[in-house]
């Protein structure tokens, strides 16, 4: 009896006080980035940490100065526990935050000093609140989180109740109903002068005559809420309701991502420095088109969701003396897998390598069999559309168009012209010839004329090419265009489009040995239109690329990233590229063969020389993954 009691007591205490941070990740989290060995990050300052986008949800707390000059070591975090950043956007609400282990609660609240304790309805759980953020502590693990109802859901409920109560459309203004528009003669209407400055009694040129005009009342009944006040109330109630749901699951029912998805639990058991879990089958639900489809074609949505289910990306990050290695598994269900399998059922085009210079700064290639993938996708999608077409005319029409195109388009010509395999290379910045206008002054009078002279400008040099079995179609079309377009000139081995690149420099097209190439590299087009020969890509890298599965990429960071002009990329793309700016070394991306349920990818990030803090490399990569996944 005593032994039983001791056993029960130990079990209870291990559950309550031996809580691990990963057990506090809500089951609604669709993306989780876990850092296993957070001792790597001890040296990272909190100010540096909060610059990452994955910390944005808690920035209001961390930007208040309480983190100034402190490192993660000062937070009271338990470095023997995992640090898990999570984000999930379901149908009704969004949940985001991070979970962590705790060794020193006093230190923790030195940093999170805006959080105030609040009453807890859950035994063994302490709660703290700051605006919309909560901290819950169970045993020696904590979660900082925020639960926000989705705008669309709040709007739907607000509108529904608003109209049911007999209210008008909230943005409707009946002022215009009383106007007889025929009274206005638009041609003779006086021009009205508008002022941007705020109108006050002292400066107004049209003061409001209070005696003549009655001021409008806020509402007929001041105790009644306006639409927006009503919406705020709904939002608050929903937030509390969803918060309770998350808390109940975590702290009463023991439901969390670990317990509800063993794929997450399995990946987390890996001892690598970092792991990640991105459930694409859930993140896709937030896509606007998918939501539209769900509303208007619910059965089609269910069928397509069936195709997309099991779409999950998991992986881990491992840090060694001079490298960070990322292994990633892209998992998918049978139907999508059958398309991917066909898509990659082809070989690399070895001829690509001839057109990549050995001193390139970076290149990538992939092999794709578009024809096979199209046939497979057709076989998967058409039965779904047929089922839907029995219920809706819209879908019958779409199916009709699809079937007509499938029957009458010359698929052989299309897919033989563009087979799917392609490559691209970047050769850094080079001077290219352009033309500029200069003012030429006459010394007698200083009158001037415009002269066009040769000039040089810096230009990023790119080459891209794709495989084709129908070079004859491309050659025929290009020859015709050269006849009718004055800027297109046919040379013996290439076609030059004058000012084709950014309206400033020549762009070249080469059709050779079943490859169609587009480049602004004069060196390739004019001097080496049949390939670089002995100066082509090294055999070692060629072999690596051939051994890789569906794709291969290589970037010499020192050469490529620093020279890549920021203004060629969008803000979001720059955010991803910034990971590697200021660093030297190389990035190599390889993939395995694609099976019915999985494709694996590896990214090896070799850095050269000394590095101060390997933790920043991991955080940079995690942030990039977060930006992509969100």
């Amino acid at each position: 009896m005593q032994i039983k009691f001791i056993f029960t007591f130990l079990l209870f205490t291990s559950i309550v006080f031996g809580q691990n941070s990963e057990n506090l990740v809500p089951k609604d989290a669709a993306s989780v980035f876990s850092i296993n060995n957070i001792s790597l990050f001890q040296k990272i300052s909190l100010d540096e940490l909060i610059k990452y986008e994955f910390m944005e949800e808690v920035q209001q707390e961390l930007f208040d100065g309480s983190t100034s000059g402190k490192t993660l070591k000062d937070t009271g975090f338990d470095f023997n526990q995992k640090f898990n950043v999570f984000y999930g956007n379901g149908d009704d609400y969004e949940v985001s935050g991070f979970t962590f282990g705790i060794t020193d609660k006093a230190k923790l609240f030195d940093v999170f000093d805006d959080f105030q304790p609040m009453e807890s309805e859950y035994p063994g759980v302490e709660f703290y609140v700051s605006y919309f953020n909560r901290i819950a502590i169970k045993g020696n693990a904590g979660i900082l989180y925020r639960v926000t109802p989705n705008d669309r859901f709040v709007n739907d409920i607000t509108d529904s109740v608003w109209y049911a109560n007999g209210n008008e459309y909230p943005w409707y203004n009946d002022y215009y109903d009383g106007i007889d528009w025929n009274e206005f003669d638009y041609e003779e209407a006086e021009e009205i002068e508008f002022f941007d400055e705020m109108e006050i009694e002292e400066n107004t040129s049209n003061p409001i005559d209070i005696e003549d005009e009655e001021l409008p009342a806020a509402t007929e009944d001041p105790t009644e809420k306006t639409y927006y006040e009503f919406r705020d109330s709904i939002e608050l109630m929903l937030q509390l309701q969803f918060l309770k749901k998350v808390n109940d699951e975590l702290f009463l029912q023991g439901i969390n991502l670990m317990s509800s998805d063993n794929r997450f639990a399995t990946r987390l058991s890996n001892t690598a420095e970092g792991t990640f879990y991105i459930d694409n089958s859930r993140t896709i639900r937030k896509d606007y088109d998918i939501r539209y489809m769900r509303l208007h074609y619910p059965s089609l949505y269910n069928d397509l969701y069936e195709v997309y289910k099991d779409n999950l990306i998991t992986g881990e990050l491992t840090i060694t003396t001079n490298s960070v290695e990322m292994h990633m598994d892209a998992n998918y269900g049978d139907k999508l897998g059958s398309i991917y399998e066909k898509l990659t059922d082809t070989k690399f085009d070895k001829n690509f390598f001839k057109y990549v210079h050995k001193d390139n700064s970076g290149f990538f290639t992939y092999r794709v069999n578009l024809r096979a993938a199209y046939e497979q996708a057709y076989d998967v999608i058409v039965p779904i559309l047929e089922r839907e077409a029995e219920n809706t005319n819209d879908m019958s029409y779409s199916l009709l168009v699809l079937e007509i195109m499938d029957e009458f388009l010359n698929k052989d010509a299309i897919f033989d012209t563009y087979k799917g395999g392609m490559f691209a290379s970047y050769s850094g910045i080079k001077k290219v010839k352009t033309k500029k206008v200069v003012f030429d002054y006459d010394e007698e009078t200083f009158e001037y004329t415009e002269q066009t002279v040769e000039a040089e400008e810096d230009m990023p040099i790119f080459t891209t090419g794709f495989s084709t079995d129908r070079s004859d179609i491309a050659s025929k079309l290009l020859a015709r265009i050269c006849k009718i377009s004055p800027n297109w000139t046919k040379h013996a081995n290439y076609i030059e489009i004058e000012n084709g690149m950014l309206n400033s420099a020549s762009l070249y097209l080469i059709v050779n040995e079943g490859i169609f190439i587009i480049t602004n590299d004069e060196q390739l087009a004019i001097n080496n239109p049949k390939g670089f020969g002995a100066n082509a890509l090294s055999k070692t890298i060629q072999k690596k690329a051939l051994k890789s599965g569906v794709s291969y990429a290589y970037i010499d960071l020192g050469k490529a990233i620093e020279t890549l002009p920021k203004n060629l990329f969008s803000d979001r793309e720059n955010q991803l590229i910034d990971v590697t700016r200021g660093k030297t070394g190389s990035l190599e991306f390889t993939s395995s063969g694609t099976s019915r349920n999985k494709t694996s990818f590896n990214l090896t990030y070799n850095f050269e020389g000394e590095y101060d803090n390997s933790g920043t490399y991991i955080l940079d990569l995690i942030n990039s993954l977060y930006v992509i996944a969100k």
Binding site: V437, F439, E444, F446, E457, D458, L502, S504, N567
Partner: protein, 225 residues
């Protein structure tokens, strides 16, 4: 919104101004009337300007399209046409080589300066540039005093260091023409035309941002008969 667009247009001109060439050409008649021409030549930065125009935004700011720029230019031109004492306004925009030229006649230097002040003020709503009110052109019978409006320098000083460094390759040329012969001038860097009726001053665009008085000049003419 209007002001943001104006700022964006200015940014597009200056943020890639590695080889910007600015030319102002003032012809002054004996009665104080004259013609003012102003040209911006970005043809040697075509690649950069085109790549910038291909973007939606840069550093969080919207990059204006060619249509936006064209609309803004039209607004400035129509504002000039409505200014007192300003006539014969002509604008030439070359979006292939990115050369923009404007010229107009003025009845007096006062009218010219008021027109410029009016445009600057309307485009910089909410920002008070006191210096814009000061005169940077005065003509007194046989003496012309010229300087660069302070606002140009203030704007240039707001550039980021890397952008300001790019100005090192740019140039600013200022030409002043008269109906009478020039007797002398105070700026030792200035050059006199062989026909004695024009004075030219050239400065590096970056040096000008560091030392605005580089293009200051006082020109003395022969007395009017």
């Amino acid at each position: 919104m209007k002001w943001n667009l104006f700022i964006a247009c200015v940014l597009i001109v200056f943020s890639f101004s590695s080889c910007i060439e600015i030319l102002d050409d003032l012809t002054l008649n004996n009665d104080g009337s004259g013609t003012f021409k102003y040209s911006i030549n970005l043809s040697s930065s075509k690649v950069k300007v085109n790549s910038l125009l291909a973007l939606d935004s840069l550093d969080g700011k919207k990059v204006p399209s060619i249509d936006d720029i064209s609309l803004k230019i039209k607004e400035v031109v129509s504002q000039l046409k409505e200014s007192n004492g300003i006539s014969n306004v002509q604008m030439e925009s070359n979006y292939t080589d990115f050369i923009f030229k404007i010229q107009f006649d003025f009845s007096s230097l006062k009218n010219l300066q008021e027109a410029v002040v009016s445009i600057v003020k309307s485009e910089s709503k909410g920002t008070n540039y006191k210096e814009i009110e000061s005169r940077w052109l005065t003509f007194d019978d046989d003496k012309l005093v010229r300087s660069i409006p302070q606002i140009t320098i203030e704007k240039a000083n707001q550039f980021k260091k890397e952008d300001a460094d790019l100005l090192r390759l740019g140039s600013y040329t200022s030409i002043t023409r008269f109906e009478r012969d020039v007797v002398s001038f105070e700026n030792s860097d200035a050059k006199q035309a062989k026909n004695n009726r024009a004075v030219m001053l050239r400065a590096n665009a970056y040096s000008l941002t560091q030392n605005p008085s580089l293009l200051d000049n006082t020109i003395y003419l022969v007395k009017e008969q």
